[in-house]
């Protein structure tokens, strides 16, 4: 009589027992070592807690006394975001076409992809520091930074959309003897337009958020106002700014989400 098979165990993730223990043991040992050797000065941490208490104590209640400054900062952030979105999206279109494998020759594709990879590989704060150094403090550096940031995202997403198009429409234009640009305008643009508009709206919202961050390193807008408030130990004003930033971002996210839902 054959044995009743009523026992089953999921095969281990790593089949080799020795290798399995080596990998798990190694990972645990590394984490312990990192924790033990991280330079944490506990004396300073305990002093810092007091300082943090001072900051939060100074921040309450938030002060909206200098709301004129706050509004100016926000209007500047909005201008930065609008300009950067317009510039970024317009520049993204040709770059996205260059980075779509199905419509350009291989060398052009590599150039397009390289531009996108470079634009994506640096965090906006790093790009902002570079632009602040090269064109000086202020909103212009912010606009340039966010243009680069927009290209990284919009061009990448748009290129992926172009690679998904229904190629039959392109084929029909080619069969009619249409020149290259006419083919792009008739067979490809109509197909990618809804995504293009959705991306632009999303990017405007995203740029508004990012403009607050890049302002901290001197690229203008509300971030600059916030950095100044901290520099002058006006923690109550800083808290007021932070509250308004969160509020505005929530509102802009809600609006952009609504618009994207309608056109999608």
């Amino acid at each position: 009589m054959s044995e009743v098979r009523d026992h089953w165990q999921k095969p281990p993730f790593i089949a080799n027992t020795a290798l399995r223990w080596l990998v798990y043991g190694g990972a645990i040992a590394y984490f312990l070592w990192v924790g033990a050797t991280m330079p944490i000065n506990w004396v300073r941490v305990s002093e810092g807690i007091g300082r943090a208490g001072q900051i939060f104590g100074g921040a309450f209640p938030p002060s909206f006394e200098r709301s004129g400054l706050l509004i100016d900062g926000f209007l500047e952030s909005l201008k930065i975001a609008l300009l950067a979105t317009a510039g970024g999206v317009i520049l993204s279109i040709p770059i996205a076409f260059m980075a779509a494998r199905n419509i350009v020759p291989l060398p052009v594709y590599y150039i397009g992809r390289a531009i996108i990879i470079i634009a994506r590989s640096f965090h906006p704060v790093i790009v902002a520091i570079i632009f602040v150094k090269s064109v000086g403090f202020g909103p212009f550096a912010g606009v340039l930074t966010l243009i680069v940031y927009s290209i990284g995202f919009v061009a990448k997403m748009l290129a992926e959309r172009i690679e998904e198009i229904d190629f039959g429409q392109v084929e029909a234009m080619r069969a009619a003897g249409a020149p290259y640009l006419s083919t792009l305008f008739y067979a490809i643009f109509p197909q990618i337009m809804p995504r293009q508009i959705g991306l632009a709206i999303y990017q405007l919202d995203s740029n508004l958020r990012a403009s607050a961050v890049v302002g901290l390193v001197g690229a203008g807008g509300i971030g600059a106002t916030l950095a100044n408030a901290f520099g002058r130990y006006d923690y109550d004003f800083a808290l007021a700014i932070t509250i308004v930033i969160v509020g505005v971002i929530l509102i802009s996210e809600g609006i952009s989400g609504q618009i994207r839902k309608r056109i999608g």
Binding site: Q169, E171, A172, A176, G177, P179, S182, P190
Partner: protein, 258 residues
């Protein structure tokens, strides 16, 4: 006149899809090409307007050699070859008029195309043709609002806007219901007669091929094995066209060469 000689198309290093194919189409005849899937019907049609690049051989349209053309010359030649597709290949998000006018893209500048400033005579011709196939009242509708039969009519009008010297139709009715399918076939036949246009149609429906076309070309695995009047297509010829598989065909090749 379309004259195809020794046409070979091979993808990579595999078995050729078209094997030394010869075909001549004269006058205003409506010719259908039948054969099972993979016989090379679509490839043959696409070699003619170079959507597929032929490996070797010659294709002449009214004395003009098509296989060697490049760039602007190729585009000029393509203007004279209209094509109707199985999946219609309309630009869904554009209006019917814009779709119809896209048949003129080879004639007008990109600027005129983008700004939609179509020449008066093109607009007049578009309305005439749309009137003829019964879709003129849809001119301002978006192409994706139309039914299958209506969409294929737009496809036919777009091809005719090119003022073609020949019309290629790649399974033009395969996405349509039987009734609509017959209407489109009838339309193609009548338009060919009215415009004195030779038409080459790939088709799966043999009954329709017999009713609506003047000549039937039967293909099997890259070769033409039947070419005659529809009446001559009997049971035996049908069996020959639709029998066998690529492997058997290759084996037979080897026997012949041995």
């Amino acid at each position: 006149m379309l004259k195809i000689t020794n046409l070979v198309k091979r993808y990579g290093n595999g078995e050729p899809v078209l094997k030394d194919l010869d075909l001549m189409i004269e006058g205003e005849s409506v010719v259908s090409i039948i054969g099972s899937s993979g016989a090379g019907k679509s490839t043959l049609l696409r070699c003619i307007n170079r959507l597929v690049e032929p490996t070797s051989g010659s294709i002449e349209l009214n004395g003009n050699e098509l296989t060697k053309l490049k760039g602007r010359q190729l585009r000029t030649a393509r203007r004279k070859i209209g094509m109707v597709f199985q999946g219609f290949n309309l630009v869904d998000r554009l209006t019917v008029m814009e779709n119809v006018q896209s048949g003129r893209l080879g004639y007008i500048s990109t600027w005129a195309a983008v700004t939609r400033s179509y020449p008066k005579e093109d607009i007049r011709r578009a309305f005439e043709l749309m009137e003829r196939v019964g879709i003129a009242h849809y001119a301002n509708k978006r192409a994706d609002e139309l039914s299958g039969g209506e969409r294929q009519r737009v496809g036919v009008v777009r091809a005719l806007m090119q003022n073609p010297e020949i019309l290629l139709a790649d399974e033009p009715t395969a996405s349509l219901d039987p009734k609509t399918s017959e209407q489109i076939m009838e339309l193609l036949r009548n338009l060919a007669a009215e415009l004195k246009l030779p038409v080459l149609i790939n088709i799966h429906n043999v009954t329709e091929a017999k009713i609506y076309t003047d000549r039937i070309v039967g293909m099997r695995y890259g070769r033409i094995i039947f070419d005659d009047k529809p009446d001559a297509l009997d049971k035996e010829a049908m069996d020959k066209i639709y029998s066998g598989n690529p492997q058997a065909d290759r084996n037979q090749n080897m026997l012949e060469t041995a």
